[in-house]
Symmetry: C2
Subunit: 253 residues, 2 copies
Amino acid sequence: MNSAKHPIQAVQRTLDIVDVLKEKREARVTDIADELDFSKGTIHCHLATLEQNGYVVKNGQQYSLGLQFIDLAHHATDRVDIYDITRAEVDKLAAESGEMALFTVEEHGEGICLYKAEGEDAVQTELYVGYRNKLYHTAVGKVLLAFMPEERREEIIRETNFEQITPNTITDPGELRAQLTEIRERGIAYNHEETIQGLVGLGAPIRDQDGTLYGAVSLIGPVSRMEDERLTEELPKLIRRAVNIVEVNITSL
Amino acid sequence: MNSAKHPIQAVQRTLDIVDVLKEKREARVTDIADELDFSKGTIHCHLATLEQNGYVVKNGQQYSLGLQFIDLAHHATDRVDIYDITRAEVDKLAAESGEMALFTVEEHGEGICLYKAEGEDAVQTELYVGYRNKLYHTAVGKVLLAFMPEERREEIIRETNFEQITPNTITDPGELRAQLTEIRERGIAYNHEETIQGLVGLGAPIRDQDGTLYGAVSLIGPVSRMEDERLTEELPKLIRRAVNIVEVNITSL
DNA sequence: ACTGATGTTTGGCACATCCAAACATTTAAT
DNA sequence: ATTAAATGTTTGGATGTGCCAAACATCAGT
């Protein structure tokens, strides 16, 4: 009687422990046992197994995530064929615009930041490589939704829990769909302070000739600099150029 | 009867699966079942559990590592306090020298590359951020061994399986110990084609006032450029400067 | 020395994991 | 088209394992 609805419990427990270590950065056996409501002995065994495999490090009583995850991260990234090319273009984009430039792809209905480049005047955000966010309230997210296959889009929207993060956050699926249609026509998506007050973003999709979506590139900056023609003309132009260069290179993979 | 000697089997199995996915980049249920000699049903359940947690991605029949590991990698790196400072200095070092510059730390008796910067003439190697290697045959490795607590050093050396990778590779624990003593006096370790023929490396430790070891910085280049005064004077000077700047900043953490 | 907290180990029971086999689904071949 | 082969998925049941509670070990503070 094992299926997706019946995950392997021991494994699930270990993954929960990893999650706690991620949140807490460091934790002792008792901390984790309390947090997850398991016996100390159980947690101990799980941690020992993880440590033996190098996925967890023990410093005195404190356990924390091992650096071996970096290795796994590299191999996971390796699957993204356009990574190297896009990275180079995102660097240029950041330099040209002076803002923060990002490369994001979709996985499991979320946007995952794969590369971040900071221009001279880049805003400081909590964004990091590996950061995951919901698609409905970011520029890249809306781009990814707009250009993915319709059935998948509807599936994700259906499962989305719309939260009012800022006054501007879209909370209505209907309105989201309307914006996505616009985005498909315009080729550029905007985020008008929908995630963080004072921050504006804009993004464009990376697609091959068949229209297959590979990811999205975006710029983020303060609302004071992201207005008028710069927002509607200049920056979209820069992004489109960056994206085009990547797209040209897709065919040669 | 569960201890470190008796790891949780279900978890161990899952970790083995992750390992296969890392090696193969993509694999089907049957591939993994054959490789690990388990039933298809078992592998299927493990993969389902991993997928539900976002650690694995399914494309048709092919499973591969999920991008969520990047998130974990970030949080693991977060533990390395000097990461940001060192990264900046390694960038400079690469620019100044034109070679490949690396920042490496020790974990579980291995060297783990945390940052890589490529100068203008940098050699291309298989090295990537997250790459793990044994300590006895690299410059950083020998640095880390030389400056870590003695008991730990001996423990690692004892467990090391010395392989003759190139003609120059050290295969004798005694000779290694002799070199480590030299390195402690000189403050710089060299790798004379001990890992790859034609490649020479040199590294120095990052330590605080108490002598606590934080990691190592190194340069790698072709033997043709790594000789004479450049190798014995110029480059060590550059590395020492980079390391010093990091060390000064440690106290303020 | 004693107390309280923690990490670690132990043994035994409940039940979760694993296997084999059957089924469903896709792909290849005739 | 029809069959054959290979794969992913599901099922039920026997085995053995993961979990808990409790005891033990270790350490810090009083």
